[in-house]
Each structure stands twice: as C-alpha cells, then as structure tokens.
C-alpha cells in the first residue's frame, strides 16, 4: 500500500533537527532505519505530516566504551552493534540480542534508537536495557536529560520521550565483576518477533552468591518490563538450578501475557519460566568463567 502524504526533510545537523521538532511539535516524526515506521505508514496506522530523516547527522551511530560503560549512539544498527569488536569482546548479552532481531535486512537498517523509541511490546532491545539498568539519553533545544530504562518504557508504543526530543544514545553500565549476562528468545519462526524474550544479568559476590541481578522480559506484557520479583528471588542465593527455577516461577507469575497468534496465556507463562531459567543458566556460566 502507499502511505498518506507527508513532507520530508533530512537535516545535516542535530540543532536543525531539534528546531524542526519544536516548529512542528506533535506533527513531525523522526525517521531512522524505517523498519518500524514505514510498515506503519504503508498500512496507514500512522500519519505524520513531516518526516525528519536523521541519517545525515554525524556522530549518532558511534559505539564507545567509557568509564560509565558502553555508550551506543541511537542510529547504530542492530548489525553494527552485533559486529562491533568491543561488544563482541565484553557484552555477550548484546551479541545474543542483536543477532536475533528480525532478519538480515532488518539488522542492516534497523537501529537501537528506533527500537527503543518505537517501544513495540515484543521488541528485544528494551528488555536488554532494563536488565542492564541502562540509561536513555534524550536531547531537545532546551538541553539533555537522562532517563533510566526502567522508567522509560511506559506502555505499548509509549515511552518517556517528549515530541520535541530526540533519543541520542543509550548507556549500558559496566556490571561489577564477576558477572555474566545472556539473552534467551523463543520465536515461532526464524526472523519473528519474540514469543517470549528474556534478558538476564548476574553479578557474583566474594562468597560466590548472587550479589546483583537484572531481568528484563519482552512480549509478555503491554510493554517490556523488569521482573523485579524474579530479581529478588535471585539476590543472596547460590547460582544453582533451584535458584533459577524459583526465579522462573516468580517471573511467570509477574508477567501479564495476552492470548494471540503466538499462543495462549498458560503456554506463554510456562515459556517465561523456561526461558528465564535458560537465560540464567547461560548468564551464570558466563559469570563463573570470569572468576
């Protein structure tokens, strides 16, 4: 189908883009990779009057490791993140997640910023940012602000971004070592959105017990969310099968899946438990390898 009409601009600089968002407040939409926005326009589920293509703005796709952790520019594509050497060496959770998003063409063009701003309830990056307690950085003409990922995703397709703001980067803090993290995604067919997606991160204390835990779930509520009951079930415990099972049971209880083409509610809850256990096994294995 053909989208409804709109105007299109491709500003060369950030300050221009931010000013356009002010001048057209509420009517303008940012265009990044287009792999969520264009399908919506084609199906006429969205009808902005102006698209602001951010492709020419420099510096928005960098991936740098700093003392804060890993800073990923909003326009970094899933593929760029997946193949980045720093990510490959130190962030296996991101490698797991990026490699499983959609299909190769989606990974070539889709971006982490677009994914987070779009906030599809089944998207993968939000679960990762929630598990790692990442920060989302937003910029507008009046300055910059940071929002914790845990308060950024508000509801289906709804985030803390104001219409005049542009998401510039996400910052993933370094977890205290030894730590390990993993992403477990259940999908019906290759390239599908998740039926259940689980991002898990664990740190181990000197006594070998779990000292910190982060679990982000996707596709099993109105928006990706932190499984805080499961996290509580992990902290202070030995990283063993009984602990993982208990966390899986807690996560299943706190998820709020709906019945859809991916399956009924009971099935999804059972899968939450199983995928949480799998993600934790893998995360714990990676943490133990760091000791």
């Amino acid at each position: 189908m053909i989208p409804a009409q709109f105007d299109y601009v491709r500003p060369a600089a950030m300050h221009e883009a931010l000013q356009i968002l002010v001048d057209h407040e509420g009517d303008a939409k940012i265009l990044a990779g287009g792999y969520s926005l264009l399908p919506l326009l084609k199906l006429r589920l969205a009808s902005p009057t102006l698209l602001v293509d951010i492709h020419d703005i420099d510096g928005l796709d960098e991936i740098i490791e700093t003392t804060d952790g890993l800073r990923i520019g909003s326009r970094a594509t899933h593929r760029r993140i997946h193949e980045n050497p720093v990510v490959q060496n130190g962030y296996p959770l991101l490698v797991d997640a990026a490699g499983g998003i959609g299909d190769p063409q989606v990974r070539n063009w889709g971006t982490i910023g677009g994914s987070c701003a779009h906030a599809d309830p089944s998207s993968d990056w939000p679960a990762v940012l929630i598990a790692t307690r990442a920060t989302v950085v937003l910029q507008s003409v009046s300055g910059e602000r940071s929002v914790a990922a845990r308060s950024f995703f508000i509801d289906t397709f709804q985030t803390a971004i104001e219409p005049t703001e542009l998401l510039t980067e996400v910052i993933i803090p370094r977890a205290p070592r030894p730590s390990g993290a993993a992403y477990a995604k259940l999908e019906r067919r290759a390239g599908d959105f998740a039926t259940v997606g689980v991002a898990a991160q664990l740190s181990l204390g000197p006594d070998g017990r779990i000292s910190a835990a982060g679990i982000g779930l996707t596709a099993v509520a109105e928006t990706p969310f932190a499984a805080t009951a499961a996290e509580a079930a992990l902290v202070g415990q030995e990283p063993n099968e009984a602990t993982f099972q208990a966390a899986g049971v807690a996560a299943a209880a706190e998820s709020r899946p709906g019945t859809d083409a991916h399956g009924p509610v009971e099935y999804k809850r059972a899968m939450v438990k199983e995928m949480v256990v799998r993600a934790l096994r893998s995360a714990a294995g990676r943490a133990l390898a760091q000791r």
Binding site: M1, I2, P3, A4, Q5, F6, D7, Y8, R10, L31, G34, Y35, L38, P39, L41, K42, L43, L51, D53, H55, G102, D103, P104, Q105, V106, N108, W109, A190, G191
Partner: protein
C-alpha cells in the same frame, strides 16, 4: 506536499527523478525507472521479494523512501548479468532449479549476493540464516540453498580458470 528532486545511482547509472516524499524506493524502481525485476510481495516488510543492495547493504526497497535514497547507489537484479552472460548466482539458480514461479528469485539473488560478498564460503546454516528475510512459497528452499552453494564455489574459484562474470557487490 511538494515533490522533491532526487539523484541516485542505479546499477552504475546516474538517475534523477521528481518524486513525492511518500514514494517508496521499490515504486521508484518499478514505476518510474521501469526496472520491474524487483518485486513487491507484501505490505508488511516481511517477504523480501523487493530486496536490493543500497550502498552494498541488502535492504527491503519497500521499506525505504525514494527521497531517502538520494545520493545513494542502488543495485537491482537488472544489474547482475554482464550482457548476455548471467551472473554466477543467476546461472546457479537455473542449474539447481532454485526457482519455480520465480516471484521470490530477484530478491533471493540480491540477498544471496550480499551474503556471499560478506561470507564467500558459507555453511548451509549460514546460507539459511542469510536468506531468513526472504520468503519462497514454492521451492521449500532446498534448491535455493544448493544454488547459493554452487555460486559460492564458482565465485571463489581463481579468476584465471572459468572466470565468473563479476564478483558480488562489495559493501
């Protein structure tokens, strides 16, 4: 809504057009440039029939605006053969019966050319993952995988022997 003037390279040739911002790249290719080898199989960016290379990266041309392609270099199925000599991938799809109705074939071949440019010696699993964004309703994929394997072998062969038409696009 005003039209915008764009200039881009298509299969090595500089092309220009005045387009509405809402025009999709696939419609620019098919309806304006009459390059109808690129197909449209869905409305949801799922099927991959419209796959082309944009600056060497495979993309679904139904999921990019023509105006966003301004200044970029596009390669479509029409840019693969060298005159009458088919590209190694086209010949391999023929040899291995990698197509039945042929609707998915242009997208499959463009996606496979992207894959082989990055990974000249893929395993069967890597081929299957590489074409995961391209749906075929006819073949069951087995012969498509065989065709890509055949082309990979030929494209890896030293140029001095039976020279392939040209190397796949480099990203």
């Amino acid at each position: 809504m005003t039209t915008q003037h764009i200039q881009l390279t298509v299969n090595g040739e500089v092309r220009e057009a005045d387009v509405e911002p809402r025009l999709l790249l696939v419609h620019l290719l098919r309806d304006v440039f009459l390059l109808t080898g690129t197909h449209i199989g869905c409305d949801t960016s799922n099927c991959g029939a419209c796959t082309v290379l944009i600056d060497g990266e495979s993309a679904k041309s139904c999921t990019m605006l023509a105006v966003s392609a301004e200044g970029r270099s596009i390669k479509t199925i029409e840019g693969m053969a060298d005159g009458a000599k088919l590209h190694a991938l086209q010949q391999a799809f023929w040899d291995q019966h990698g197509l039945q109705c042929g609707f998915c074939t242009p997208g499959m071949i463009m996606q496979a050319s992207w894959l082989l440019a990055r990974n000249p010696d893929p395993t069967e699993t890597e081929i299957r993952e590489g074409i995961a964004g391209n749906l075929c309703r006819c073949t069951g994929y087995v012969n498509i995988v065989k065709a890509i394997e055949q082309a990979a072998t030929e494209l890896r062969a030293p140029a001095s022997t039976d020279a392939p038409a040209e190397p796949a696009a480099v990203s």
